[in-house]
């Protein structure tokens, strides 16, 4: 760890150059995963590239009715943004389940995503919301859906020299609502045993016209379950639709047994949480944005 160099570049281009120059270099946002992993010896990067001195990297920008969230924006700053909290309450709540106030004052959603934990709380909510990453790299900027970033525990699809610059959330659709729920033994300072994010749209009659469902901690990555969203579309979220949702969610869950939960418990809870999150999202969809 003592051989790690610290850089605080002022531009995205300089950050890309520094990351490209050393394949072991890591971008530093809030550091609540990176620094812990460096201290434990799990990671020993040749350099850490602090993103917080780059303009626009910290803070939420409104782009019309959409939102661009800088990669170094701490989770608590999301809650402080009234427009974002009203448009995407599920995402903001999910990000503010992570760790403690101390941790959330540093931790970022981009870091939560790129740490690539299957149990990352903000990621199922972002996937359900249809969030997109803007990624900077040696060949310029590109965009990718959030669900394309994690590929296995701790591994991402980012190429050498690339880092996430911002996360974009679309405008909240008319009649749209979202929610994220997780199962943990404790209410705070815990890691999701199962997590479920739902984002849906209801028309004037209360019929679901679009739905996205994403799960955490039931596989090697957060997973978008298209069949689960499809189970809700065209319904009014009656018992049959919710049962079909739970069934689709359980079929897509391939969790492991570990100290935090068993396979059967996780599968059962994935169905329960998706159902509850869908109902919360629906109640929010009914409310005016």
């Amino acid at each position: 760890m003592s051989s790690t160099v610290y850089h605080a570049p002022g531009t995205v281009e300089d950050a890309v150059a520094l990351l490209s120059a050393d394949p072991t270099a890591r971008p530093l946002g809030g550091g609540t995963d990176l620094i812990v992993q460096m201290r434990s010896g799990r990671l020993s990067p040749g350099a850490v590239i602090d993103l917080k001195r780059i303009e626009g990297m910290s803070g939420v920008r409104r782009v019309g009715d959409a939102f661009a969230i800088g990669a170094a924006t701490p989770c608590t700053a999301l809650k402080a943004n009234a427009g974002l909290a009203a448009a995407w309450p599920g995402v903001v709540e999910a990000a503010n389940l992570i760790g403690s106030v101390q941790v959330r004052n540093r931790a970022t959603m981009a870091g939560n995503l790129c740490n690539a934990s299957p149990a990352a709380d903000s990621v199922p909510a972002l996937v359900a919301a249809g969030a997109v990453c803007v990624i900077a790299g040696p060949s310029g900027l590109r965009e990718a859906p959030v669900e394309a970033i994690p590929v296995s525990p701790g591994k991402t699809s980012l190429a050498p020299g690339e880092f996430v610059v911002e996360i974009r959330l679309p405008p909240r659709p008319a009649g749209g609502g979202d929610a994220y729920l997780r199962a943990t033994p404790r209410t705070e300072m815990d890691i999701a045993v199962v997590g479920a994010g739902v984002s849906l749209v209801l028309d004037g009659e209360g019929t679901c016209t679009a739905a996205r469902v994403a799960l955490g901690a039931v596989g090697p990555t957060v997973v978008l379950v298209e069949e689960a969203g499809a189970a809700l579309v065209g319904t009014k979220l009656g018992d049959d639709a919710l049962a079909a949702l739970s069934q689709a969610v359980q079929a897509a869950s391939h969790p492991i047994d570990d100290k935090r939960g068993t396979v059967s418990y996780r599968k059962a809870m994935a169905g329960v949480l998706a159902r509850r999150a869908a109902l919360i999202a629906a109640s929010r969809a009914g409310a005016k944005a």
């Binding site: 550091g31 101390q102 004052n105 705070e188």
Partner: protein, 162 residues
């Protein structure tokens, strides 16, 4: 490897220090600046014993790299009392015996003050959620929560003209 020079503000005073690129801010505060009030419990952001204020937000100083403090404003437990006059949170911790071994106490006081600075009238549930990132293995938390609620009442009276 050459050390990094960092210029910052600590408890209202300008401060400069030299550090390794991956030193924690906690290590610099304790070992370089002699501010040993902030403690290292876990070193992984779980226990809150190293809680400080960084640009007005409470963070675990074990999870801040010292060079990140360049140009930032740092406030530690050492700056909470005004001279020999204890802050109401400190006074109520004493009156309610809200500590035993005392290792977690600086972190709890910095965190509790941060809460009361923005919300002088918290509910007990708000206090408990706010302090979820501070672990205490002695008190069982009840005396700590009572001390914070008492400090809040104390601070509100001071602000209300009689």
């Amino acid at each position: 490897m050459s050390k990094i020079r960092v210029s910052t503000t600590v408890n209202g005073d300008h401060a400069e220090f030299l550090c390794e690129s991956t030193s924690s801010l906690l290590d610099v505060l304790r070992d370089t600046m002699g501010l040993t009030g902030s403690k290292e419990g876990c070193g992984s952001g779980d226990c809150g014993a190293c809680t400080i204020m960084l640009d007005g937000e409470m963070v675990c100083s074990c999870l801040v790299l010292a060079p990140e403090a360049e140009g930032r404003t740092v406030a530690t437990i050492e700056g909470v009392a005004e001279g020999s006059v204890l802050h109401p949170v400190q006074q109520k911790f004493l009156e309610h015996a809200a500590l035993q071994c005392g290792f977690c106490t600086p972190g709890f006081i910095v965190a509790a003050k941060a809460l009361l600075d923005r919300n002088p009238n918290p509910t007990e549930a708000e206090v408990r959620y706010w302090l979820a990132g501070n672990l205490c293995r002695c008190t069982g938390y009840d005396k700590i929560v009572r001390a914070v609620m008492a400090a809040a009442a104390d601070l509100r009276q001071e602000r209300t003209p009689a």
